[in-house]
């Protein structure tokens, strides 16, 4: 044992020449490069596999444009990472793809919707709207019987073999040929087959579902007598249509009243008196939604009120939480304070609960008749914490203060610790009062660190949907507006209501609002960050 061990050490020992040392270094480096290369290949293989799957799916759905783009991106990504030269691109590519997918695409798509009339009644394409109108205009002829029908076929053409329920006679017709009596094979009183035609099985009927649905066999030569249609391939009914579509003139005519509806360019067939046939379809309406948001008085009123309140809410929320947090943080700096950890845990508690849950609990506590605050704390006072317009605003700010100050407290504590004690001592030496030291020295130093966080907090509160949705639901409602907004609604919760509540959705208008919000937040962010830079340069 000892022998082998000693020989091993002996072999390991020989002194290396400089040449050997450099060779070892190169081998090492090559090994490292190999590891990276393997990792790179594995990662790219995953990307390529996903892309290949996507291409396969897209191919099945005939999505040629997307397929081409996916292929192009994949090839590009492979090229970038296998190339020895594209070093900046290697770092930028993942970030840019994510930026495009999650930010630019979302924003562009929202902007696009904002320029359309997408919403209730304008949901699909024009073809779909016409098909839907035609279907719903079918009226069953009054007192007409139920016909037993059999779907039959001859050289690709479908026909209906109809049994008249009154006399049991069989007749046959197609889309083009009205019903004519035929000699048919009967089975249980129902005509099931006729010479020269193949009877379709149920599976065949299902396979040609669309054709069967389109099958309308004229009852007689007179089109006003209606046509027999079947929905399930077994029973047929006699229908007349109240609408006629003229493809060349692009008009719909109501046969009962004679009213002509024309495409008004706004996504619906409209009569001269302005009556619209719905469903309509989606069209590009340009800046109509933006114009409406800013000029329609029933929308502009609430929009302005909500915008003003959104700013007040965001600014006051940031200010109150920041100053309360700062105050508490400064108290904690006092070395004479005892039980610091216990207090700290209590202060951070609100931060530890999910915000929407806290808001929900607050909503319960603030109930006018049964809430804890009125019942227990105020001895049965009936204060409308959430129902009076002004008090509701105050409640929202109060709850947000409760939810938000722990964060500011933590941030300020960190920032205050970063300010050297010498600054304080220098101030004292120069005879400054504690307030002057705080106001002139500590606060500016603090703001340099904290301002970006305040801006982020402003942006967060500007869109603080959770709190509003769970606490007041935006209420109390404005009483006479065209959109269901309320006194405590923020822009974001108003957008939600316009787009996703009630029976008349307006995705176009909601998207227009969203773009307006985006512009406001972006402008504020840009201005604020410029200001921050100026602050930094001061130091």
């Amino acid at each position: 044992m000892t022998d082998t061990l000693s020989t091993a050490t002996d072999e390991k020992a020989p002194p290396q020449t400089p040449r050997q040392r450099s060779a070892a270094r190169m081998a090492d480096a090559a090994g490292g490069r190999l590891r990276w290369l393997v990792l790179k290949i594995v990662m790219l293989a995953i990307v390529d596999a996903v892309a290949l799957y996507a291409v396969f799916v897209l191919f099945l759905h005939n999505e040629w444009l997307v397929l081409t783009l996916v292929t192009a991106v994949t090839i590009l990504v492979n090229w970038i990472y296998f190339s020895r030269k594209q070093i900046p691109a290697k770092y930028l590519t993942p970030g840019i793809i994510l930026l495009v997918v999650f930010q630019i695409f979302t924003l562009s798509y929202t902007a696009y919707i904002g320029l359309t009339n997408y919403g209730t009644g304008h949901n699909g394409s024009k073809d779909q709207a016409i098909a839907s109108l035609m279907r719903s205009s079918l009226v069953r002829v009054e007192d007409s019987p139920t016909f037993d029908v059999t779907v039959v076929e001859r050289v690709g053409e479908l026909g209906l073999l109809v049994t008249d329920p009154t006399d049991g006679e069989a007749s046959l017709g197609t889309n083009l040929k009205p019903l004519e009596p035929v000699d048919a094979t009967m089975e249980g009183g129902k005509a099931v087959a006729v010479d020269g035609w193949t009877t379709l099985t149920f599976a065949d009927v299902l396979a040609r579902s669309n054709e069967v649905e389109e099958l309308a066999v004229p009852y007689t030569d007179d089109p006003n007598d209606g046509a027999i249609r079947t929905q399930d391939g077994q029973k047929g009914y006699l229908y007349t249509s109240t609408l006629v579509y003229d493809a060349s003139a692009d008009t719909m005519t109501d046969t009962t009243t004679g009213t002509v509806y024309t495409d008004d360019g706004e996504g619906a067939f409209t009569s001269e008196s302005g009556e619209q046939l719905l469903p309509g379809w989606q069209v590009f309406v340009g800046f109509d939604n933006f114009v409406r948001a800013l000029t329609d008085t029933t929308i502009r009123g609430p929009l302005l009120a909500v915008t003003a309140w959104t700013f007040v809410f965001a600014i006051v929320s940031v200010a109150t939480t920041f100053f309360l947090g700062l105050l508490l943080a400064m108290l904690f700096q006092n070395t004479r304070m005892r039980f610091k950890n216990g207090y700290r845990i209590m202060l951070i508690l609100p931060y530890a609960f999910p915000a929407f849950l806290s808001a929900l609990i607050w909503a319960g506590m603030m109930n006018k008749s049964f809430g804890f605050i009125n019942q227990v704390l105020l001895g049965g006072a009936e204060i409308g914490w959430l129902t009076d317009p002004w008090i509701a605003k105050f409640s929202v700010l109060l709850v947000n203060l409760w939810l938000g100050f722990p964060y500011m407290f933590l941030v300020c504590m960190g920032a205050l610790q970063g300010i050297p004690e010498e600054v304080n001592e220098a101030g004292v030496m120069d005879g400054a009062s504690p307030w002057q030291i705080f106001r002139r020295i500590k606060l500016p130093l603090l703001l340099v660190t904290v301002t970006p966080l305040l801006i982020a907090s402003f942006a967060f509160n500007f869109n603080n949907f959770n709190l509003i949705y769970m606490l007041t639901g935006g209420g109390p409602r404005f009483e006479d507006t065209a959109i269901p907004a309320g006194h405590t609604d923020l822009l974001i919760s108003m957008v939600y209501k316009v787009a996703f509540t009630g029976q008349n959705r307006d995705y176009g208008l909601a998207s227009a609002f969203t773009i307006l919000i985006f512009i406001v937040v972006a402008v504020i962010a840009v201005i604020s960050f410029r200001k921050t830079k100026a602050l930094e340069e001061l130091n």
């Binding site: 209730t120 009644g121 599976a203």
Partner: protein, 409 residues
Amino acid sequence: MKVNKKSWLALGGLAVASIVLAGCAGSANDAGSTDEGDATSTLTVWVDSERVDALKGAADAYSEKTGVKVDLVGKDTGKIKDDFIQQAPTGKGPDVVMGAHDWLGELSTNGVVAPIELGDTAGDYLPVALQASTYEGTTYMLPYAVENIAILRNADIIPEPATSFDDMIAKGQAAGLTSPFVVQQGVEGDPYHLYPFQTAFGAPVFGTDAEGNYDPADLQIGNEGGFQFATWLGAQGAAGNVNTDVDGDIAKTKFTEGEAAFWLTGPWNVGVATDAGINVAIDPIPSPTDAAAQPFAGVKGFFVSSESDNKVAANDFLVNYIGTEDVQLELFKAGNVLPALTAAADTAAADPIIAGFQTVGADAVPMPAIPAMGAVWQYWGIAEAAIINGADPTATWQKLTDDVSAAIK
């Protein structure tokens, strides 16, 4: 390495490609939907998640009989309608969707549902179910359940049904209860739950035409009865019998803890009450007038997508299968809501609770599904909430009427 012009161009190309890559998930393509090989043999049905199991048996039996595979997809109740409206036009939606009749106006206005011909079976359904499934003279829904509110009475506290609204309050007070009667409201009111009292004053929202369809041009909410109702509601608010601070949860707690003996609510809350050990009886809604208090009826059913490539199978599955007594009873067992098929409803009414709701439902009127109703809901609740909280009933009701008629125009 410098970032040269070429690499920026490359990145730009990448960016564009990714946009479309992200968009492909939601993009519409009509060409794609027609050539799916298995489209004819699979029927996609969107169902409330809780009812997937109830339909499973029927779906399997139908597959066995016809060879058509029925693919039941459980969807979140709250999202099913919006998802359907958004996906149907892309051709990627389901063939059949389960829903409620008051969606009809919205679905039909968006053109996403196809008519259903019930034919001779139409007469087999409860009249209210049939009426609710029809929109502007066309039937779009195969109904399977009828739901309406009624009075849940705590029979241990009050053994006898109340004869009128005042009698109900008096009985409860005699039993020593501070709030004998609870009904769910909220800061924005809840007109659905107050509607029986409004109809008792002879003020429906819309008048009906000869065929029983709601006529949006005939707004009835502001008739004389409407103002009488508003005055009555103001008095009830002042007396504390109706309170906007009572939301669904508070009403539930008060009833299950025995603080209230009468609870105006629907079958969906019966289970909660019986689980809490309350001896529940179902009574007609005590009217504040001599006329009957008619609640809204909500009818549940199935719609066929207008973009389905499988309409024949879809119609066959609904009309000739879901419309049978066995399947309706099976759905009843899962939801405990009165079946829409008369024969199934009579069988289900062996349960006294269901029988109670059926009796009340005989007076029920379908909730209007016309889009004009959206304009009513928008103002209705807040006006009622204001009146309950002491606003002048006449002026507030007049404003409601004006706002609604302006919005409908």
